[in-house]
């Protein structure tokens, strides 16, 4: 493999990782602050993509669509938090898994009811079309670079939010002691709704950004949900830093595995066979990595070790 291709594939892995980070950051934030496992996070991703596609089609502007996706996902998140999620904070993980599993069914069929069964159209904005040259003679798509940029911006933003602002202070306090911040006079209910909506908005943002690359359709959130869980478990649940690291690890391992495993096997097997076996192994790779990491660090890479 040439250097240019290698760089391109690493960037692809990085871009996939950044995407996963946008999902995982919300998940891990919600778990860290409220102790909640939210399987319906993928549904909020879908809401973001649908909102962006519909608004972009109506207005002709991807950017308005992007704004709409943030608003729609945050609103959907807030509504779900107030009506359902709020009742789950005191429950065990089992109830949370089940209730949010039920929410997936509701969201998926509800979306299909409203928007129909056919996939929607969403394209990247003209401003971000085209490619930029890479060192070594290759080139890389501008839009994907922009996604990487957004991911880095969100990571910095979250870091600043949590370490520098009053909201962040409250979030950190909430992580350590719910009763204490209630005693401090912070309206904990509102805080939780805000955090949940923030996580939802990040998922919606990811959905909208990816919607321009992929197919906007019902069920699009489920594969990415499972990956996002893999990410936060590898990184250590509740740790934003862990989510970032885990996301990039998963993105790069998955991409490079898909590319390299079949090629490595083709040294030993006929190409058709190498493709099949390599593909099979590549699809299992990140789960193998996850199991290995948890076997040695049961609370993830950046999780609090008990």
């Amino acid at each position: 493999m040439s250097l240019a291709l290698l760089i391109e594939q690493l960037l692809n892995g990085l871009q996939l990782g950044v995407m996963l980070f946008l999902m995982a950051a919300g998940l891990t934030l919600i778990f860290g602050v409220m102790g909640l496992i939210n399987l319906a996070h993928g549904s909020l991703y879908m809401v973001g993509a649908f909102a962006c596609a519909i608004v972009a089609a109506a207005t002709g502007s991807f950017w308005i669509g992007l704004a709409a996706s943030l608003v729609a996902a945050a609103a959907a998140g807030a509504i779900v938090e107030v009506t359902v999620i709020r009742r789950l904070y005191d429950r065990d993980h089992l109830d949370q898994v089940l209730a949010t599993f039920a929410l997936i069914l509701v969201f998926s069929e509800g979306t299909r009811w409203v928007f129909g069964s056919f996939p929607l159209y969403l394209d990247i904005p003209p401003l971000l079309q085209g490619a930029v040259p890479l060192p070594g003679g290759g080139q890389y798509q501008l839009y994907r670079l922009a996604i990487i940029g957004v991911g880095i911006a969100v990571a910095i933003g979250l870091y600043l939010l949590i370490s520098r602002t009053r909201l962040g202070m409250r979030i950190r306090a909430g992580e350590s002691d719910r009763e204490m911040i209630a005693a401090l006079g912070v309206d904990i209910k509102t805080l939780y709704t805000v955090v949940f909506a923030l996580g939802a908005a990040l998922a919606g943002l990811a959905g909208a950004l990816v919607g321009a690359l992929q197919s906007v359709q019902v069920g699009m959130g489920e594969p990415v949900l499972i990956l996002a869980f893999v990410v936060i478990v590898i990184g250590g649940i509740g740790s934003i830093k862990g989510a970032l690291f885990g996301a990039i690890l998963v993105g790069v391992v998955d991409t490079m595995g898909r590319v390299l495993l079949p090629q490595a096997l083709s040294l030993m097997l006929p190409p058709s066979q190498a493709g099949l076996v390599g593909g099979a192994l590549a699809s299992m790779l990140i789960y193998i990595v996850m199991a290995l990491i948890l076997a040695f660090r049961p609370s993830g890479l950046f999780g609090a070790q008990s």
Binding site: F31, I37, V84, R87, L88, H93, L94, D95, V97, L98, A99, F101, A102, L103, I104, L105, V106, S108, E109, G110, W113, I226, F229, V230, V233, I237, L276, G279, A280, S283, M284, Y287, I288, M290, A291, L294, A295, P298, S299, G300, G303, S306
Partner: protein
Amino acid sequence: MKATGAREIIANATIALLLLAVPLAASAMGEPFYVTLATRITILALAAAGLNIALGLGGLVSFGHAAFFGLGGYAAGIMAAHAFNAEPFFLGLDSTTSMPVIWLVAIVTCGLVALPIGAISLRTSGVYFIMITLAFAQMIYYFANSWPAYGGQDGLPIFIRNTFPGVNTAQPLPFFLLCYAALLLALLMFWSLRNSRFGAALQAARQNSVRVSAVGIAPFNVRLVAFVISAMVTGLAGALFADLNRFVSPSMLSWHMSGELIVLIVLGGIGRLFGPVAGAMLFVLLEHFLGGVTERWQLFLGLILLGVVLFARGGLLGMIAGKARHG
């Protein structure tokens, strides 16, 4: 306390009789489909009863039990396929269509696979345990999906239902009765486990694992044994399910299946003897009748589930028989 205990016993007896009586009546009335539906309930209840050992007694939220359900199914499917093609099965041994042998293979396979999965997963706890069991199941799912030998995503048909000595398994009713007997045996085992010394240690480990180690019992060992037994029962259910559908495919291994098994238990009542049975009845009937009424049935199924989790804690049996008590 006595009254709620008695109510639960009556509820259990009613459920057990109903599950037996409906297919008998349906068969007599020439409605074989309702026998098939009852068989489906019975097998799903068996699978969930297996999970209930880990989840209900041990508090181990395994989000990967579909792995064992599917492995059991593949054991039946693969052996039937080899027998159908008259090929040797393993180490030159002849394959067979005899259910007892297939069940044994399914149970042993699941036990052997559950042992390392459990040993690694049980190093973690809480959400990590949920997710690592999911990860193992996904590994097996993707493997089955992309491995070409046994049909991959298309799955593996079982052209002729496997056999049981002295029973005509091709007929719906005898096959149902076999499954029903297996379910009763599994429930008997669950009951016996729950009340045994092992069950005491397992349940205590769920309530307070620090306490359990402080009296000198290693929670890890107890949980690992529970996880393996649990997987074996679910694997047996998988083998029966494959024979019921005359088909096995990776969708038996998918994370939705793992979710459904948990749903069955919670619908019925966690840790209760007949929780999985009540849950499976409710779930299959909901799926069947909602599916008949509207194509948006998944929406309503979701809403009903949500309602149960939020407002009917303790599941169906919890509503009928009140809070569960331990000796």
